[in-house]
Symmetry: C2
Subunit: 386 residues, 2 copies
């Protein structure tokens, strides 16, 4: 397998972006990434687009061809992939594989979602399409409900407290104040307001849940041996993995761990030749505050059961032992489903280039962690500065 | 790139399959393919699933992980791809690439769609998600309308007649009478009934349009060098191509040709080292009767403008110069969107093994042609008997 580098990144602001379609958003992110990379559309050899709910929320499918056509990248293959909230990570994984395996030298990867035109009820219903409707749909369980159950179990198992959850949400909101692209940029929240916000699904409160956002992000990947031909500053993909896990709660042996994440992380670390202790900055899938704690443990970044107190002690802040979600994460940067896995990489690439808005000092190794459904799919990518 | 073979195939009946979910259908096809191949679920290294409207029509996404979990293929990557009606062809293309590029040795590919629980109006609306809603959605054009415009232009350009269209529909319906899996198996139609059926979008009549069907199909792909380890009779993938084309009518220079098909066909022929004259049997994307005529010309199997009279003269029947859609095609076998591109290969593999229900004598080279949207995506695969 050949070495692959990311030489260009782009990301729209996340939030309520009225009057802009899926195509508009994806185009904006793709053009920024191409410009950042110094790559012309005609140099792209394949395009992968992560999108989840285009059909359900915007009645738009075939989005990869749509965006490819508007970008002017010609007749090269344009493929949409979907794995619920991990759609973006899967798109990256496929762009990576195409180059690593020698099928292409230059690939464009993007993720996009347009959600805010729909109401909260409609979005929540669409998101439950990422659960197994046949097996558990009749329970009426939504994703806030699922992660509330996870939180309760985690608190029971490990003695975590509501303050630990609030610490995650607060850190996320603080980080977003230094990220102009974040949904909640310019909207700080006090810890007290967070921990007393209204209940969504007990014990999760409003600030424990990621918002409904529009947005898109894009990356230009090249074979590392050709990186110097282009203008962008390369960041190397050291490890890339995708794994499949439980799609129903009844299949989960342990509510406090997602097996697909454990598997993907182990593969990605092995390929990269690094361990969790080497990670300087991580963008993890904090769709809910509890999800960040479990992610850090499944990734081996925190010992099992200790993520809560360590988060509360500031270990995951920028400047702490390992910076987690310096972008604001899904909780405060926003979570336009298909864009998330790509936007995580946008952030980590800029961290490793030393040009992030909320820069982690001396960041050399970064990790992204993207999860779909209740752990049905997970991707983990490990990136390295040059 | 390594040689890839198909060693197992499976396909549900197509039609109104009440009480069976997307997962049920995909599982049935996958299990048949695994059994046919003599491959255990634990031997699968990656899974690709083509599906179009799971979210819109059945509120079920994350389908690849769902099916993978139920099949018991473990934590290996499971990826859903979507390219409208070419979703199945794209799934095959990715299974092929994973093996050809050396990432995997054994890959399961499937396509599935569950449509008949929705009404015709709802399905037609969902299908328009494969058009560019922003650019042309406001015109109210549906796919029957688009292909009606294509038919009118084709008749104007080349002097084709309504009888030519009816000949395609009649041949398709006749072929389906020998395919027990076809939606219209056991439902023959007289040529006169076809050409006098009710108008759907002038000049297209009821029998010129593919029905709304449920169904799934699956394939087991292996590195050819390992094919003899398993039980199935191998058929080789000689050529595989995916191309991107126009997603709006306004971009099309010529309504009578889909550039993505021309491009993909040219690449697939070149890779396979064969030409259109070598094709013994073809399963082409006849979503409407007119689409079969244009497909045959874009594929180089018929000279431009001559497909109509040649179809009427019987050249495309089983036993004719080149057998086209011996399965009954989309028109009469049915068109469960995501399944179609895989089911075409199911048919051609069985033809090349000499075990098809409607066997083409001495078939050695087969072709499948799968199109999404108004030509936004096309895949072409060329298969060879051993």
């Amino acid at each position: 397998m050949r070495q692959v580098s990311i030489i260009g990144v782009g990301c729209t602001p996340f939030g309520k972006l009225k009057g802009r379609s899926i195509k508009d958003l994806a185009l904006e992110a793709c053009r920024e990434a191409l410009s950042d990379a110094g790559v012309a559309p005609s140099q792209i050899e394949a395009f992968y687009l992560g999108n989840f709910a285009g059909g359900m929320l915007a009645r738009q499918e075939l989005t990869a061809a749509l965006v490819a056509g508007a970008l002017g990248i010609g007749a090269v293959p344009a493929t949409r992939v979907e794995g619920a909230c991990a759609s973006g990570g899967i798109a990256l994984r496929h762009g990576y594989l195409m180059i690593a395996a020698g099928c292409c030298d230059v690939v464009l990867v993007a993720g996009v979602e347009k959600m805010t035109q729909a109401g909260t009820e409609e979005v929540t219903a669409a998101l439950t399409a990422a659960a197994d409707r046949q097996a558990e749909g009749s329970t009426g369980l939504s994703f806030p409900g699922f992660f509330a159950a996870v939180a309760r179990r985690y608190m029971h198992e490990y003695g975590a407290t509501l303050d630990h959850l609030s610490a995650v949400a607060y850190k996320s909101r603080e980080n977003a104040q230094r990220n102009p692209r974040a949904h909640f940029y310019g909207k700080p929240a006090a810890l007290d307001a967070i921990s007393h916000s209204r209940l969504i699904a007990d014990p999760l409160r409003l600030y424990d849940c990621s918002p409904i956002s529009d947005g898109a992000s894009a990356l230009v990947l090249v074979a590392s041996e050709r990186a110097k031909e282009f203008g962008g500053q390369p960041v190397d993909i050291l490890g890339s993995a995708q794994a499949t896990g439980s799609t129903t709660i009844q299949e989960m042996d342990d509510l406090c761990s997602l097996q697909a994440v454990v598997k993907a992380a182990s593969q990605a670390y092995e390929q990269a030749g690094v361990g969790p202790e080497d990670v300087d900055v991580a963008e993890v899938h904090d769709c809910f505050s509890i999800a960040e704690l479990i992610a850090l443990e499944d990734l081996g970044i925190m010992p099992r059961g200790e993520a809560g107190p360590r988060a509360a002690a500031g270990e995951t802040r920028v400047g702490g032992r390992v910076a987690v979600n310096p972008s604001g994460g899904l909780l405060s940067k926003g979570h336009p489903i298909g864009a998330t896995g790509v936007a995580q990489v946008f952030e980590v690439v800029r961290q490793l280039r030393g040009e992030a808005d909320n820069q982690v000092p001396h960041a050399r190794i970064g990790l992204t962690h993207n999860v779909g459904g209740c752990g049905g799919v997970a991707t983990v990518h490990i990136l390295g500065a040059r």
